[in-house]
Symmetry: C2
Subunit: 195 residues, 2 copies
Amino acid sequence: MSLRHALLALLSAQPMTGYDVTKLFDGSVGQMWQAPHSQIYPELRRMEADGLVDGEVVPRGTRAQKRRYALTKAGAQELDDWLAAPADYPPVRDVARLHTAYLERVGADAARAHFRAHQAHHERLLHMWTAMRESIASETNAVLAERLRHGPEDRRRATVAWKVFAYDALVGRARLEIAWAKKGLDLVDELHAAS
Amino acid sequence: MSLRHALLALLSAQPMTGYDVTKLFDGSVGQMWQAPHSQIYPELRRMEADGLVDGEVVPRGTRAQKRRYALTKAGAQELDDWLAAPADYPPVRDVARLHTAYLERVGADAARAHFRAHQAHHERLLHMWTAMRESIASETNAVLAERLRHGPEDRRRATVAWKVFAYDALVGRARLEIAWAKKGLDLVDELHAAS
DNA sequence: CCCAACATGTAAGGGGTTACATGATTTT
DNA sequence: AAAATCATGTAACCCCTTACATGTTGGG
């Protein structure tokens, strides 16, 4: 149940509406955790029922309203408990590798298309993650800035450092995948030249 | 729906029972795709109903029976269609990185435990993947050997090469994760020495 | 004879995807 | 006035996890 913890983590920066969270999830932050709004709104309601967040109705324009959620003490505690516990790793299910392992069944063109798509996919991720890493390292990221303003002064350095370090892993992985895809293209040539 | 394609891929080596597949999934091969037997047996039944596999009842001992599934032409075609189509990449949901990004909230001990667990987890994967890679490269792997005996002679080299190359990616990733976890341990020291 | 391995199921519940649905507000 | 964005839901369906459940066979 990690959607819940991703939401708690985001809301620990500042109170937000479901819409705000949705935007962040398919924007910058979302390159670490993604979820559609159809999952977010009900989950926030459940979290409110469980006392982890406080929903406050806020006016919007003249007639309309929106619901802004703030972390409660219990919510902060739940986040800390989750962070203190060992992470459980999901089972391996690697579609790209499953695909690659059986490429002898397809022609050279399809094999090349496979690796070009793999490279393009991870280049997209690399750009997003790099941009995110930079906006955090330079403290220009809006959510981070808000977090730093409300958070304790003595944790300021670690708050930035851990987020940068997390994105470093993602950036490193993207680079590795891109290099691997390039080697894959070479291997297609080699295997199809031989025959 | 990739469990189905993982099953088709495995069965393309040789006919197998649900039990065989289950063993492979939590043994060697399973380090690329994992699923419990409660998911495998019903899926094989559905695939049979869809004409992708042929279930044959085989005697086992004196009284008991087992059901061995073989790929049909339609099943092989479905596998080839899936391989020819571009892979669709699942949304990013990285629990370990989500965890890491908020480590400023926990103490030095919990942070160290987090990275030690990360390192241990990926060392386990590294060992399994390395062993698997070697057993394929040396053609001592049982499933691969069977596949090579039944498959066309001219694809022999590619059959081995693509599987080795797929495991190369997994091995490379595990190494990267281990190196990253070690850097994480250093960063814990650095951040907690400063305060 | 007992135990490990072989062999195959069912079922409840959780989490995620996709599609359907609606309305207010702000910008052009 | 139209279009984009803000804002929030519901519901069907699929996939996966966990737990319950049962019986046979082969080796020590």
